[in-house]
């Protein structure tokens, strides 16, 4: 799977759906007709609402309808997601071999020993950041039992530094499949010797665990033998000026959102996530049959975003997973807009391709909804900016719209509240609203580009930035 017509159709399906929704609203407005044009001294009449030169707010019933629609839609998606998750938990269907009910039955009354942690760190020329990553592991309150650096086609001192730090090194052999390929080789070698509670953590070489991460994760995995994975919550490192602050704010908001969802996972992040061997073995067995990929591979090497793909794979097999608030990691950020563009285009493209590979299933509903949501947001934000631009370029006086200004204040408050934990710099950037609005617009352009690329079947390109050459950081791809 993966290169077929459906794969290319994903972008078109999303574009048509969100475009259709916007068009529907547009025509509904047109159809209501404009109230008689009322010429005021300095102004215009706006369709159904006289809001432009009036302090008058839209009609209450329209306000209520719009608000109710938005809230019902978001609540509907959330409820549906909960329902699907609960059904999956209680499922005894053999198609979901990782469902808690099945796992519980298979492990009832069996003690497979205490939870031990084996860490795999895929690394491709990561000598700059690897020592700090290993140090963060060794200083954990619950130290990992084993740390294995998976050195993939390294031409620097990655392997030597790892040995110096006293950890094991697994070198990939003839690997052409990047990070996923290297991890598959390492897991094929490692998994047969792992017991039920000998969990495997996969973490990036440019990431540092906060203290307490492993302790919290081990406690969770000890308390619930049906728990198949624990994902980390990532925060951005310091530095990189305003581009860094944009990303830090974004990550803080994402973590807050996961907290509000009580740890229910969107993506088991590649920066640091822990898996039960049972989960990884089941995925490897299921590939090529119930889930996409090559049988025997834990990671799907065809996917651009292997962490997102593995999350959907585990969910499709019924696996229970969580991102506890205590499991936090600090990860490297993209230093400029050029590298950020490349990273986000890969994420976006990967997410779309994964949806194409899995199709529309109950487990992928949340991800489809997310794509539709972003897509509609692109249209809404573009229309807003167009409106402001047209008015600025067609009028010559100050015009205040109290009602809409009020809404602007609400948006500002939301930005500040959601980024509050980031400290004063995060709050300052948030309260100014417009810089983040343009950052959102930047991400929207990436999103549109991703949709266009996948629809035209363009080959996705990899960009691996070398620390040594550019002074920039990158993830192992």
């Amino acid at each position: 799977m993966g290169q077929g017509l459906f794969q290319r159709m994903v972008g078109i399906v999303i574009a048509v759906t969100v475009g259709g929704a916007a068009a529907l609203l547009w025509f509904a407005i047109s159809a209501t007709g404009n109230s008689a044009a009322e010429s005021r001294a300095e102004g215009i009449v706006l369709g159904v609402w006289r809001i432009l030169y009036d302090s008058e707010a839209p009609q209450p019933r329209v306000i209520l309808a719009a608000i109710a629609f938005a809230l019902l839609l978001s609540a509907g998606v959330a409820l549906l997601e909960r329902r699907i998750a609960n059904r999956s938990r209680r499922s005894a269907n053999p198609r979901t071999p990782l469902a808690p009910k099945i796992v519980m039955a298979e492990t009832r009354g069996v003690y497979a020993g205490p939870v031990t942690v084996t860490v795999l760190i895929p690394a491709h020329n990561e000598e700059a950041s690897l020592p700090a990553t290993i140090a963060s592991l060794m200083s954990q309150s619950h130290r990992p039992e084993r740390v294995i650096v998976v050195a993939d086609n390294c031409t620097d001192a990655t392997a030597a530094l790892a040995r110096e730090a006293g950890v094991e090194v697994f070198e990939s052999v003839n690997n052409t499949k990047k990070k996923a390929g290297a991890l598959n080789q390492a897991l094929k070698w490692l998994l047969p010797g792992q017991g039920d509670n000998d969990v495997v953590m996969v973490m990036d070489a440019d990431t540092s665990l906060d203290d307490g991460f492993l302790e919290a994760a081990v406690a969770r995995l000890s308390n619930d033998r049906a728990l198949m994975a624990v994902g980390g919550l990532f925060y951005g490192e310091e530095g990189h000026g305003i581009v860094g602050q944009f990303q830090r704010n974004e990550y803080i908001r994402y973590s807050r959102e996961i907290g509000r969802r009580r740890g229910r996972v969107f993506v088991l992040t590649g920066t640091a996530s822990i898996f039960r061997p049972r989960a990884l073995r089941t995925v490897a067995r299921g590939r090529g049959e119930s889930i996409p990929g090559i049988r025997g591979d834990v990671y799907d090497t065809a996917s651009l975003t292997e962490d997102n793909e593995l999350t959907i794979a585990l969910k499709s097999l019924g696996g229970l997973m969580i991102s506890p608030m205590q499991c936090t990691v600090v990860t490297e950020l993209m230093p400029n807009f050029r590298t950020l563009w490349a990273q986000r285009l890969r994420w976006q493209r990967g997410a779309l391709e994964n949806l194409g590979a899995y199709g529309a299933t109950p487990q992928t509903l949340r991800y489809w909804a997310q794509q539709f949501g972003i897509g509609y947001g692109v249209i809404a934000l573009s229309a807003y900016l167009l409106l402001v631009l047209l008015m600025v370029l067609s009028l010559d006086i100050w015009v205040w719209f109290p009602f809409w200004l009020g809404i602007g204040v609400v948006f500002s408050i939301e930005r500040v509240v959601t980024a509050w934990k980031g400290g004063w710099r995060a709050r300052l950037l948030a309260v100014t609203l417009f810089p983040e609005l343009f950052f959102d617009m930047f991400l929207n352009v990436v999103y549109v580009r991703g949709i266009i690329d996948i629809s035209l079947g363009r080959q996705a390109k990899w960009k691996h930035l070398n620390h040594a050459q550019t002074g920039e950081t990158s993830k192992v791809q």
Binding site: A22, L25, I29, S30, N34, I44, G47, V48, W49, I51, I63, A66, I67, F69, A70, L71, S74, P100, R108, Y111, A112, V115, D210, N223, R225, Y235, E238, R248, Y251, R262, M325, Q326, T328, V330, A380, A383, Y384, L387, V388, L390, M391, V392, L393, S394, L395, D396, W398, V399, W404, L405, I407, G408, V410, F411, I413, E414, T418, K421, G423, W424
Partner: protein, 92 residues
Amino acid sequence: MAISAALPAGILFPEELLHSDWFAVLATFVAINTLMYGALTIAKILPKLHPGDWIRTRNQRSETRSIHPDAPAVNEATDFVNTRSRQGPGSG
């Protein structure tokens, strides 16, 4: 939303543009979207409600889920509250 006073009338477009039907539709389209996103924004500011917590159900598990077969069965809600002790770091 405010319009800059520094700009002369019709800096790029004639003011008639703002009287056109399609502009009225655009403004209304934006207004409705703004309201919808405004509602979602307020929902994001407010603390999230978990109605399930208000109903005292029997969340007692019928059997332990621990890796230790002889561990006591725990209550799901209590289990969750116990794990919310520490918050992650910020970046400021």
